[in-house]
Symmetry: C2
Subunit: 328 residues, 2 copies
């Protein structure tokens, strides 16, 4: 920067000012500075800037995994909005391991971020104390219904499970099953199960639970379904923890010659691209993947800009949409 200043024949602080608020520098010097920047190929040092201003343009985001299309789509919209506002995302993934979250929070906090986005409400005691002490803006996303640390953007997974149950009950199904990946670690899949089960049981029906443990979800979904139907031939409807599992189940039905939805109704979760093209088209739940990203960015930006007037809205329930097609 001092090189730029020298070449443009101004003081370093004028260069700094020009970089941050160009219109507060006279046109003549502004042009000189700009041409010096271009000539030298100068790139400002973000760390030095962050240190000096004791703020950073960093926003941390912690998700269970970036390989699920749910989260990667949320991340992509989030990053788009925040980058446009000049922020840099620091992404960490826990791989559904609660103990890793604390480590990631620590690592992100050491960057002195302006904000932090977490997935869900479940955090270790230590994490919570780190966060409350650090006093930064926090959004917990992809869930809704608990008090939360600060701001919340998501939907209730229990309600989602209940919605699916009510739909199936309405269509006359009674004996149901829930097929899940990652059941013991994915709290939100768990919640969907609970909402589903409670509603089904309340209506006099039954719910069998099966968890996938292998590596290939689609293949194992088929295998587990075969076993399930063998043990519980009375099963009439199946709610899956995601669309890939549901696809596996549908393909298995085809192999077995079980008609959908007559022999077995199937409902997915995710409304992934392919669900409209399966045979038959799949009934599924659409979570607000992109909306979560957009609203999270909006809440964060509002807070960081310090518009206290709009600061009252801090909890957003985006709900889910049940996409009824022909598989149920």
């Amino acid at each position: 920067m001092s090189e730029v200043a020298q070449l443009a024949d101004v003081s370093p602080s004028t260069v700094s000012l020009y970089l941050r608020r160009p219109d507060e520098v006279s046109t003549r010097r502004g042009e000189r500075i700009q041409s010096a920047i271009d000539k030298l190929g100068y790139l400002p040092n973000t760390m030095a800037g962050g240190l000096a201003s004791s703020r950073s343009n960093i926003i941390g985001v912690i998700v269970p995994t970036i390989t699920f299309s749910f989260f990667s789509e949320t991340l992509e919209t989030l990053e788009k909005s925040l980058r446009a506002a000049g922020y840099q995302l620091l992404i960490g993934n826990t791989e559904f391991d609660a103990s890793r979250e604390e480590e990631l929070i620590r690592s992100i906090l050491s960057w002195n971020p302006s904000g932090l986005v977490l997935t869900g409400f479940s955090h270790s005691r230590k994490s919570v104390s780190l966060l409350t002490k650090s006093d930064i803006s926090i959004v917990e996303m992809w869930d809704y219904g608990q008090e939360g640390l600060d701001m919340v953007v998501g939907f209730s997974h229990r309600t989602c499970g209940r919605l699916v149950a009510e739909h199936l009950i309405r269509n006359g199904y009674q004996n149901m099953a829930f097929l899940s990946t990652n059941f013991h670690r994915d709290i939100r899949a768990n919640e969907r199960y609970l909402g589903f089960r409670d509603a089904v049981v309340a209506s006099g029906g039954s719910v069998e639970l099966r968890e996938l443990v292998g590596r290939s979800n689609t293949a194992e979904a088929g295998k587990l379904l075969r076993i399930l139907i063998n043990e519980h031939p009375e099963t009439q409807a199946l709610f899956c923890s995601n669309d890939m599992v549901a696809l596996g189940a549908m393909l298995e039905c085809q192999r077995q010659g079980w008609s959908i939805p007559e022999r077995l109704a199937i409902v997915g979760f995710g409304n992934q691209d392919f669900t409209g093209s399966t045979l038959p088209p799949m009934t599924t739940v659409e979570p607000p993947r992109q909306e979560i990203g957009n609203h999270t960015a909006r809440l964060l930006l509002t807070r960081l800009r310090g518009n206290d007037s709009t600061n009252t809205e801090t909890r957003i329930d985006l709900g889910v949409r049940l996409i009824v097609r022909e598989s149920s």
Copy 2:
């Protein structure tokens, strides 16, 4: 840090030393410092550290999108290895927009990163000049066959296309088609097409090209396939730019009653989880998603640790595996 020093009754520089190389501090003081850190909940300021040492533990990664399972799996393995070595990833996505890459490079370079990972060989002139000037370690991944800026980890998409062509030719197919998403922007899908077409044409066959342009890949794959078969009923085999497109094509064949592979052979790309469960199981290409991440991390770490002895290996062709199942 000075607070910690005060509480532990040592100098700040001893605390700093303890944090970086604990064994060079006496046990007694080390313990005092650690307890002071715990008591105060002290977190080091990474930016200050980076500024003072004029190095950073940052490694930038630029991918077209994080929503493709290809890239997100590579990212996940890459981040795992690099985080374990103490590095922080800064992820940017271009959304297949070449002009955004330059902006991202600029933004990442301003963090003074230790290394940078790019996807493919195609960069603007300005980007290249920024990179060569910055003199950091660079890995271009997910492609192979060009000289590259520094290190290269990937595979040849042209060879991949040729492999698929040879497999189909061997099985007696002559009239083929290539169905692609994002064809005009995804250089690597383009290369696969070229490798495929050249081999097919060289053997006396023909290749029709169709590009998906809508939002739903699976649905549009079906639609385009229907039109294609109507216009070119002689088509015997189809190579798709990814597994989702291939799934859409397979589902369309089912709807139309076209048997696979008798009426139409289908080959995907990606070897996604579900491809083993389709009806029939899908022939597809397995790109080395995770291996790319691992080797990229390895090369980068070797370079950053300055082991000049092992520094000779800078170009790795990981190849692809053709997974022959029953759809071809």
